[in-house]
């Protein structure tokens, strides 16, 4: 069966008759690969530009419209030894990039203004204690105003917008006092300049903006990088379907271009990419990713199948239905919406601080004004002092206190193989006291393994493995992996749904269902000893062997459970699978609390019950059936192999075959939250020292500048302590 790949969905047409495709490239890890790829692609005729990006692990290729098929580019890359996956840029990632560039431009403008104004300000400060003439001072102040006003108007936009949004929603965030402080400082400085005063606060206002923008730009950069990795992973999953055209042609197309009503071909051993109804063929389907159930289900004409399930031995033709019509997904979506609604909006530490802080600052400034008026100061002096209070309390350190920690923490999580989806996930992860694990695909690896390979003679497993390569059944694939087989047995024939047969050294060999091989008795013995395992039989002449295949626990599952308990976390299993299967895992992990055969609604109810007891729940799951419970929990994580909907619902996604990122994430989050609190305390201490000075009217611009930069640097340095000295954990990407 031959088919063609259709990548036209991913090709962008840019002006001048040039087409462009972006590819995520697996295995591009060094500078050598970069030049190899660029040079290799340039040899293709009519490719005008090939540019590799080592940071994102992507390649952008441009060619003259219509000159070559984009498939040729992917093939060329695979000739060079790299697997490339087409990538749909745009949407969220493009917006993210725009935002990053905007913040960088603001930062550049603010930094330029700060440096130049500081140059003038230092001259004024030193001149004030020596021999500056009033004309020179006015000249310097005038120049400062000329720089500061347009610069602040441009660079302050992120804060102004956010403050206006908050005020429109009748709430206060950190940007409200920032905006007020900057505007008042600039306004007062202009007035003071016009009145030939000896001091102005242009430098304070610009310095404030620069520090805060630096924090935001770093934060944004980190988020963008995480998103790029997540985007690559999505592309690597290569969500494509084979579409059967009316004239019988087969075309491999991206999921996004499949329409309801299309007929899609699903070959044996492939993951079903769409929701729909089987119109032709029979097969067995592994639904573990969707329901958590490890038993195979039979699919025949009229059976409804779901995206994410694995096709077994037969080839199916599936008529695509809009996912909204699929009853199971419908249920999940409905539950998901409810769960998201029900989750009481978590109040972030920064917002809580802002809620306390903003009124306090404004009241202090106001009482300073009133106080000075009462003791008989002029309006002018009282106002200047009040504004100085606002400037000095402007939450420079407070504004950096939490973002700085978040940046270091998410970099640290990134190193541990954890990608954050939600900004406040770090804080929520830190509060966790109970971990609920899903079983299938979370505690266990998503792929099945032969568990009794050691009991079978080596030569038997070798032959069985080579025979297994001729079949695409998932159980056969497990045997092939166990044998590490490379070359299929010549002349092997597959009987769909039964097994494969072939000849090795003149002896007939058969691999397949126990009934197909006449090994029912051995299979029954296995079922009695290990009810969870599926049996696959192998016959060579008169020899009979049984391979027990089942999903194996992740290698470090026991260690992770122990470590969780050491962190003071209660661990439980919440699974949709059969009681026997879950009990076995719970016993292996030495867990007392486990729940089997849970429907998505059951899971949510159980989580709600725990939360009502005042426990903070972390849900770790991968199945489509877990998505609502992930959203219902206080915090949630899912492995990168999880269904798409599930990953979106999770706060964080972890990479690799190991489970340890889960406990690592909790440990890092706790450390981060502690440092966040410390930073808030530092900011408070700073204010306790600085505010009285300002209230007394002693805060000159020089003192404001020193206090602001000093506290910001202190807070940033403290944030760096979240970084552990551990050796980096490696994960597969």
């Amino acid at each position: 069966m031959s088919d063609t790949r259709d990548l036209s969905h991913f090709v962008r047409h840019i002006e001048g008759g040039v087409a462009r495709i972006d590819l995520a490239v697996e295995g591009m890890a060094c500078a050598g690969c970069m030049s190899k790829i660029e040079r290799g692609l340039s040899t293709l005729p009519s490719v005008t530009r090939a540019r590799a990006n080592l940071t994102n692990r992507r390649v952008a290729v441009e060619w003259n419209e219509g000159a070559i098929d984009p498939v040729r580019v992917v093939e060329r890359l695979s000739e060079l030894g790299f697997r490339a996956y087409p990538f749909d840029p745009g949407g969220a990632e493009a917006a993210e990039e725009q935002e990053t560039n905007f913040l960088l431009r603001c930062l550049a403008v603010a930094a330029f203004a700060t440096m130049n104004i500081m140059l003038l300000s230092v001259s004024v400060w030193s001149g004030n204690v020596s021999d500056i003439t009033p004309e020179q001072r006015d000249f310097f102040h005038g120049l400062s105003a000329l720089i500061a006003l347009p610069a602040a108007a441009y660079a302050g936009q992120p804060f102004f917008r956010s403050a206006i949004r908050a005020l429109m929603a009748r709430s206060l965030n950190m940007d409200v006092p920032i905006t007020l402080g900057v505007l008042l400082a600039l306004g007062m400085s202009v007035l003071e300049t016009l009145h030939h005063a000896s001091q102005a606060y242009f430098d304070s206002a610009m310095m404030l903006l620069t520090f805060l923008l630096a924090g935001r730009a770093l934060d944004q950069n980190m988020r963008r990088r995480t998103r790029a990795v997540a985007g690559n992973l999505a592309a690597l999953k290569a969500e494509t379907a084979i579409k059967l055209a009316d004239n019988g042609d087969l075309r491999e197309v991206p999921i996004a271009s499949v329409q309801p009503g299309d007929i899609v071909l699903v070959r044996s051993g492939e993951r079903i990419a769409v929701d729909g109804v089987v119109v032709e063929g029979t097969s067995e389907i592994d639904q573990s990713l969707v329901t958590g159930e490890t038993m195979l289900a039979t699919a025949r004409k009229g059976t409804r199948v779901y995206a994410g399930t694995m096709n077994g031995s037969g080839t199916l033709h599936v008529r695509v239905e809009a996912s909204a019509e699929a009853t199971f997904l419908d249920d999940v979506t409905r539950l998901l919406e409810k769960a998201v609604e029900a989750r009481s909006r978590y109040l972030r530490l920064a917002d809580r601080a802002a809620r306390l802080y903003a009124p306090l600052v404004h009241v202090t400034a106001l009482s300073t004004l009133v106080g000075w008026l009462v003791v008989g100061a002029t309006w002018h002096d009282a106002t200047v002092t009040a504004i100085a209070v606002l400037i000095i309390t402007c939450p420079c350190a407070l504004g950096l206190a939490i973002p700085a920690v978040q940046i270091v923490a998410s970099a640290e999580l990134f190193r541990a193989g954890v990608l954050l989806n939600a900004g406040d996930a770090v804080e929520r992860l830190a509060d966790i006291d109970t971990v609920l694990f899903d079983k299938t695909g979370t505690l266990t690896l998503p792929e099945s393994e032969v568990i009794n390979a050691a009991d079978v003679p080596g030569d038997v497993i070798d032959v069985a493995g080579r025979l297994a390569l001729a079949s695409s059944h998932p159980l056969a694939a497990a045997v092939a992996r166990a044998a590490n087989a490379q070359s299929p047995l010549a002349g092997a024939v597959e009987e769909p749904g039964q097994g494969v047969r072939g000849v090795n050294d003149g002896v007939e060999v058969i691999l397949g269902r126990p009934s197909f091989c006449g090994a029912e008795r051995e299979a029954e013995a296995l079922a009695a000893s290990d009810p969870e395992a599926s049996a696959i039989a192998f016959v060579r002449g008169r020899e009979r062997h049984i391979f027990a295949v089942r999903q194996r626990l992740r290698r470090d599952a026991v260690a992770v459970v122990n470590r969780s308990q050491k962190l003071g976390l209660a661990v439980e299993i919440l699974s949709g699978d059969r009681v026997a299967a879950v009990e076995h895992v719970a016993r292996t992990l030495n867990l007392k609390h486990w729940h089997a055969a849970m429907t998505p609604a059951n899971k949510i109810a159980y989580i709600a019950e725990l939360r009502a007891e005042g426990r903070n729940v972390l849900m770790v799951g991968d199945g489509l059936n877990d998505a609502p419970s992930l959203a219902a929990a206080d915090a949630s994580m899912s492995p990168v192999t999880a269904a798409h909907v599930t990953q979106t619902a999770a706060d964080a996604v972890f990479l690799g075959d190991r489970l340890s990122p889960v406990t690592e994430a909790v440990a890092i989050a706790r450390k981060a939250k502690r440092v966040m609190r410390e930073n808030l305390c530092l900011a408070v201490v700073y204010n306790i020292i600085a505010v009285p000075i300002a209230i007394l009217g002693l805060a000159t611009p020089l003192i404001a500048a020193v206090a602001m930069s000093g506290s910001s640097i202190l807070v940033t340095l403290n944030a760096l302590r979240v970084k552990g000295g551990r050796s980096p954990v490696r994960w597969k990407s």
């Binding site: 060094c30 500078a31 050598g32 690969c33 970069m34 030049s35 190899k36 590799a52 990006n53 080592l54 940071t55 994102n56 560039n101 960088l104 431009r105 550049a108 403008v109 330029f112 440096m115 130049n116 140059l119 003038l120 003439t133 020179q136 000249f139 310097f140 120049l143 720089i147």
Partner: protein, 56 residues
């Protein structure tokens, strides 16, 4: 001290040039691939690789 009248604006103008330079480099995508840029500087584009992975 009249010298300040043109020296300070000149200093500012030079600073502005730097700012414009940064904005231009940002716009032309020079910060898109910081890891790759570090390596490109020392890459021998004109020397042909002999070994399969001679560039590593």
């Amino acid at each position: 001290m009249e010298v300040l009248i043109y020296l300070v604006p000149m200093a500012l103008g030079l600073g502005l040039l730097g700012l414009i330079g940064f904005l231009w480099s940002l716009k032309s995508g020079q910060y898109d691939d910081l890891d790759g840029a570090a390596w490109r500087a020392i890459m021998d584009d004109d020397v042909h690789e002999t070994a399969e992975d001679g560039g590593r």
